[in-house]
């Protein structure tokens, strides 16, 4: 079918537009790496995406335009709607979801190519290198697709528990080996059978599921970031197959940036990537309450409020519990009240607090907390010794001193916020259960720790009330 333009003109125009797309993407990402220019960055990158999409309609030999427009309207419309209505606290799982869609799209491209080869049209065959790239992209994209969907399900609360069984890693290894063997057979055969291709995709999808199911919620940020890098690579591989420069450059940039980001996150938890993926974090009931001395000592919010009102320095440690309770606005209101009273207030953010690095920063920014009050782990840890109150709001594992002391603990070696060094520790927590990792938190049993039970938003409101009563 003839395109809108003569073939050579169209190809040239598309090639140059992709150059522009790559340029805009890189400039956009660069701008996103500074808070001042970040907002401009996404607009620049978005402009690039728009150009790339519009120009791609000009490809020579294209058909199925009504289908294409319908698909863009459906996919884009649903994503636009869901992205608009989702609460800020649910952002991590939405990123996982959209990322999975990208991986699925890359796998779909590969599926069309591989199936065309299976249909044994001589004209449709590729050389072994291109076939290998198509298969590799299919593999990575499919794993990213199903894995990201599982991550989404877990964070969204659709999948409640981590599924683990004996020999799980062995089963995963077998699936990896079988998938790779099938992929190799496709490359070698050149004309794979339909069954081989279908089985190949089925196994890759299964691997994404079995790989992600055992991973606990605390590790999800790392996993989502890893799948983000995966999707980037898959997109780049399919870019080679389609000889599409924009896909290659964008995919590789995301692949390398995502890999680095994943490493930074894993490092923040003092764990290797392999450890995150294969350790079966918090496995077994061994960690249950061993070596805990003392008791949990509850305190009324009114007393806790008085304690803070007369403090000189309060360090707030927000965690996922604050996100769940949507308490960031109330917490900031509370802190403003304290600041007005002359109390020095700081926010301490652990690199993996919440479900993503920077998750807490995003929420605090939403509530209007200025940057200069927010410190990360390295900056603030020395300051706990001079703090009168460490207010832990819905954070757990990131303040567990066990990480420093107990070698047998799964979180041993993870850098933590030294809340236990503060003169008083107030822990706002919904109930008496352990954290996401299932490890008992020794901080809660310390002599200078008091527990304030309740929903973070409600407790913050009660604390505000109490401090106002002090006058």
């Amino acid at each position: 079918m003839p395109g809108f333009l003569p073939e050579n003109v169209a190809t040239l125009a598309i090639d140059f537009s992709y150059l522009l797309v790559a340029f805009l993407f890189i400039m956009g990402l660069k701008a996103m790496s500074s808070p001042v220019t970040a907002r401009r960055g996404i607009v620049v990158a978005g402009f690039g995406m728009l150009i790339g999409t519009l120009m791609s309609f000009l490809y020579p030999g294209m058909g199925n335009f009504p289908l294409m427009l319908a698909a863009i309207a459906i996919g884009g419309g649903l994503a636009w709607w869901s992205g608009r209505i989702v609460a800020m606290t649910d952002m991590p799982q939405m990123i996982a979801l959209y990322n999975g869609m990208g991986g699925g799209a890359a796998a779909a491209i590969a599926a069309v190519e591989l199936l065309r080869m299976a249909s044994a049209e001589p004209a449709a065959t590729h050389g072994p290198v291109v076939t290998a790239l198509a298969a590799a992209g299919a593999f990575i994209g499919a794993v990213s697709f199903s894995g990201s969907l599982v991550a989404f399900g877990k964070l969204q609360g659709l999948i409640k528990r981590s599924f683990r069984f004996k020999g799980q890693q062995f089963v995963n290894l077998v699936i990896v080996a079988a998938t790779l063997a099938l992929g190799a057979s496709i490359v070698i055969a050149g004309h794979p059978t339909m069954q081989t291709v279908v089985l190949f995709f089925a196994l890759a999808l299964l691997l994404g599921i079995t790989m992600t199911l055992p991973i606990g919620g605390a590790d999800m940020p790392v996993v989502i970031s890893l799948y983000n890098a995966f999707t980037g690579l898959a997109v780049a591989f399919e870019g080679f197959v389609l000889e599409n420069a924009a896909m290659i450059i964008a995919g590789i940039v995301v692949g390398s940036a995502g890999t680095l980001l994943t490493q930074l996150m894993a490092k923040a938890m003092n764990r290797s990537l392999g450890n995150v993926l294969f350790s079966g974090f918090g496995e077994g009931p061994a960690a249950a309450a061993e070596g805990v001395t003392g008791a949990l000592k509850p305190i009324e919010p009114s007393d806790a409020g008085v304690m803070m009102a007369f403090a000189q320095k309060v360090i707030v440690i927000p965690g996922y519990g604050m996100a769940v309770a949507q308490a960031q606005h109330k917490v900031w209101e509370l802190c403003q009240l304290l600041i007005d009273k002359g109390v020095m207030v700081r926010f301490a953010i652990h690199p993996v607090a919440g479900r993503m690095p920077g998750h807490m920063n995003v929420l605090l920014a939403e509530a209007g907390v200025p940057y200069d009050l927010i410190s990360d782990l390295d900056e603030i840890n020395a300051e706990f010794e001079t703090a009168d109150v460490a207010l832990v709001i819905g954070a757990n594992d990131v303040v567990n001193p066990v990480a420093r002391t107990d070698k047998s603990s799964p979180i041993y070696g993870m850098p933590i916020l030294n809340a236990d060094k503060a003169k008083n520790v107030l822990v706002v927590k919904r109930g008496q259960g352990a954290g996401f990792s299932g490890i008992e938190n020794h901080l809660f049993y310390l002599d200078n720790t008091r527990m304030v039970y309740g929903d973070a938003q409600k407790v913050a409101a009660e604390l505000i009330h109490a401090i106002k009563a002090v006058g």
Binding site: G63, M88, Y98, A108, H329
Partner: protein, 99 residues
């Protein structure tokens, strides 16, 4: 695409990605992950080509699904990133009138 040139492209793009992330403050990690998530939404373009050149019904179905997913990645990634970064604009010295 010529093999060697392709390798050049990969190498330079990989360095670019590394450089972009290496100097980013932790505070922007989530928006940037979201932003890079948006960028690989360019897969939409490839899915469009795959669908545009599909001949059989099966290819059309897979291509259609690919375009739906790719468009979801691109649009969803943009909306979510834009919303997140909007809040960063509001913070700083000038506080947003928070509820």
């Amino acid at each position: 695409m010529e093999g060697v040139i392709a390798i050049y492209i990969v190498m330079l793009a990989a360095f670019t990605g590394y450089e972009i992330i290496a100097k980013v403050p932790v505070i922007l990690h989530t928006p940037l992950m979201s932003g890079s998530n948006f960028v690989h939404g360019i897969v939409l373009v490839g899915a469009m080509v795959a669908l545009g050149r599909a001949d059989t019904v099966l290819e059309q179905v897979i291509g259609f699904v690919g375009v739906v997913l790719g468009a979801g990645n691109a649009v969803g990634g943009y909306v979510v990133t834009e919303r997140m970064l909007q809040m960063f604009k509001a913070s700083g010295q000038k506080k947003k009138e928070s509820a």
